[in-house]
Amino acid sequence: MEIDYKGIGLKVGLEIHQQLDSRSKLFCGCPTKLAPEDSKYYEVVRYMWLTKSELGELDPAAAYEVSKGRKIVYRVPEGHACLVELDEEPPHDVNRESLVIALAIANALNAQPVDEVYFMRKIVVDGSNTSGFQRTAIIALGGYVEDEEGVVRIQTIALEEDAARKVDEGPGYVIYNLDRLGIPLIEISTAPDIVSPDQALRVAYKIGLIMRLSGRVKRGIGTIRQDLNISIAGGERIEIKGVDKLELIPKVVKYEVMRQLSLLKIRDELHKRGLRPEDVPETFVDVTDTLKDSKSRIVRASLEKGMRVYALPLPGFKGVLAVEVSPGRRFGTELSDYAKAWGGVGGIIHSDELPAYGISESEVLQIYNRLGLDGGRDAFILIISDFEKAERAFKAVIERLKYAFIGVPRETRGANPDGTTRYLRPQPGAARMYPETDIRPVRIDESILMEVRKIYIPKPEEILKILIEGHGLSHDLASQLIRDPLLHLYLDLVEELKGVTSPQIIASTLVATMKSLKREGVNVDKVDYEALREIFEAVGKGRIAKEAIPDVIKAIASGTSVDKALDSFKSLSVEEVEKIVDEVITSNIDTIRTRGPEKSVSLVMGKVMSLVRGRADGAIVNTIVRKKLAELSKQGGP
């Protein structure tokens, strides 16, 4: 689907959270590293007390749990959390190093520091903060990022504490590890100035690059997180949480636009059919009897557990539930999200997707009859569960269906790995912010600004120079790389493989090899950071030849384990190469004699290279071939 983003008034804002690499946490002296898996830990059990007005901040399911008094278990790994994380000691003064790093990044984003920093308490009630709030402060305002499609303003830059790490969750309980709680985060929020999916990627990339160029932020999984705010004219401003991969951003934007456009089309279609919100019934019907002899495995298993089948008749809705709103997701999927979130049910089954799940054509007809509906015009929704859950689920589904007549509901959504999104919760009102009275405000005076100036952050333009002069890349390769989000990957790999593998090999593989393999249809996404690191390390240590890289990547992409792939393309020893060269010379001895050994180098090289298939460095093969042919020439031949 081609979309005219300007025409539909797309506006995107970014909120980027990045962990800072300070020595200590934001409000205590604990380290900012996560605890090893086998750390000794204590457990502390707590409950949170919530006023009703603050429950709106939660996922509906979590809100339901919390209102029932959910047990929160905190794991306190020795050496990685103290009384501060446990909410048993007041926070210490703000960690100066973190503040300085954050201000240096703010400066590189052209923002102005505030005169005095005040920490606030933002109420967070899912238990991920032991105190029940997150401590956060605006440290800088203003700022902008330049981009080819226009300048994107930065609204606020905040310094805040990361939340505890969720370990497990179940009915009535949740377990968190406290090692992550209190690690400093910088939060950069742009204005909704972004007008295209590609611009969203470029701006996120540029902000990410500036942060990493500071050399003072954490790298690796979970250390950076992007949230997006996306709206189109006539649609709604939707918050999308947890986009953890940069490359996903354009997809998320595109799919969200598609979703909003589809929802608007559905609205128009409903009006065209002359339907009104009042046509959505308020009550649902028990239709268990129609499916009591069903061969459907889902139905049978559920009925055996004592569940019932409930149906919501939807007169005039035929086909609407099947409308695709984003790839692989139909309007029915959207309704299903609501049923899951609010009712805790497994999902819904709707008539537009039936017969399916083992429910037969005749059973569908029976349900239509039972509900007094016309199979050619009407639709229905089934929920299989106990009554209490079905009631909550249908209530949410009915409200959502009524909103279909208005358009796009204001939601907070979560990103899926494929770039589509799912419903999480309604958007909360303005967060309640209380002053953090335990922390002294910090005046941004000359002594802090002097420390800030000591952190030199190269401009993205200067990185080109570093790549060419520092890493020895060609101008061409370097300029390709800096325009590509792969640069992060490249810099990570170069940093980790310093002195082992040359940056040129890494750069050309990422920029050229990976891309051409992708064009050939190789599923290069399967080759993750770890695999790449191992491949480059193997090249650097001579385990495989650099010529073998494409073959190794292909093998891994088709499911071979990294170790196996590296083994099967292991470099040949000099002796092995010599043996192959000897064999090639012997079997082509007549031709070589005819041409003369000196003129047969390329002939022999070609044949040998096709035999070693990347398992030997071409330069080495060439030396051996020349040596052997020279010997042959001296001998004058057998």
Binding site: L83, D115, E116, Y118, S131, A430, P435
Partner: protein, 440 residues
Amino acid sequence: MVHVKPGDLVRVVTKSGIILEGVVLPSTEFTSRGFIVLKLSNGYNIGVSLDDAKVDVLVENYLKLAPSEGPQGTTVIRGDGNMRIAFVSTGGTIVSKVEYETGAVKPALSAGDLIEFVPELKEIAAELVVSDFMRKLSENMTPKDWCEISGEVGKYLASGADGVIVAHGTDTMAYTAAALAFSLRGLGNPVIMVGAQRSSDRPSTDALYNLRACPLIIREAPFAEVVVAMHGSSDDQYVLVHRGVRVRKMHSSRRDAFQSINDLPLAKVYIQERKFKLVNRNYIPRSRNVDLVVMNRFSDKVSLIKFYPGMDCEIIDYLVDRGYRGIIVEGTGLGHIRDECIESVRRATELGVIVAMSTQTVFGRVDLNVYTTGRKLLKAGVVPLDDMLAEVAFVKLSWLLGNYPDEEPSEIASKLVTNLVNEIGGTQSFELFPRWYHGD
């Protein structure tokens, strides 16, 4: 420069050219000179220097800043139970709430909040009297306040309350608990002191748990003592009920700061399970057949001093010369101060000042028979306080001097070491000394 005041909505153009709009908040102890604190529309506060900034007042008094108010008196609430309960609020963290708009701390928990916090109160009480009596941080309490609180609590007990809950700041809660324990003579029902280490505006507050234990104690407890109800561990699992004359705040910030010293707590209350479990069988039983007498006078001429190496002995002389009538000394180990000071002690006792010895080791008894210094102190007239906590002895001596003004020092001294409410003379069993963490 435009004059701005807290509550005004202003627009500020800072010296770096940023335009800000927000409400001016009242300054705090931390606000730098020449700075204002602005609350922005996104809820964040920031500090803005007025140097070289351009300020326009958009709306005067945009936010109403109510002046802090005094205690509001009593509210009576009817419940579904059959007990009569009084809740007396004196101030402290347990009733403190921060207003998110203004950042002002309000030291009052309304009766409505209390009922929402503690649904058990309505279930158990037929009549609940909520008295917004005092709004004091506990470090500001004086013996005069003990007198008033005791009078207020006594009033409800005398009119038939089955139990009284006293909300109090934690810093000096143990002192007030001791003061109530001595002044409420002939107590027939429990009086529960309760506090919080995390204020009740936090989702993680411990106030809720501690408060929810109170109605259960009033319903279940077999004892008629003044007790302190606070978290038993860092978990929200059970609340410990400590005897008011045997409890001490042992940590500056933890939820489980309060611990019984030289004694076992009286009971544990499991909140989730709504279970009351008696753990100490040595208590003063509840009774309908006693007559409450409120003896709530306290002398303010008692001092509590901690001996330290090289202490200037004139400190004792000074107190005597200033008209102090009692000195509780926290001595070292078994109850010692340096030799040189013994002369000042002798002078004090000869002038009729009661000098009594406790120990700064907190745990264990004093014994002045073991070393020469101890024996010399005894000879100089020092009263050894056995296993009584120094703070409790301080309160008890204040109470004795306040209520028995005409008695001879020797009679007061004798009363000081005579057990009244299980404050002195327990059995020191092995397990009463806590096991600390030794890295294993």
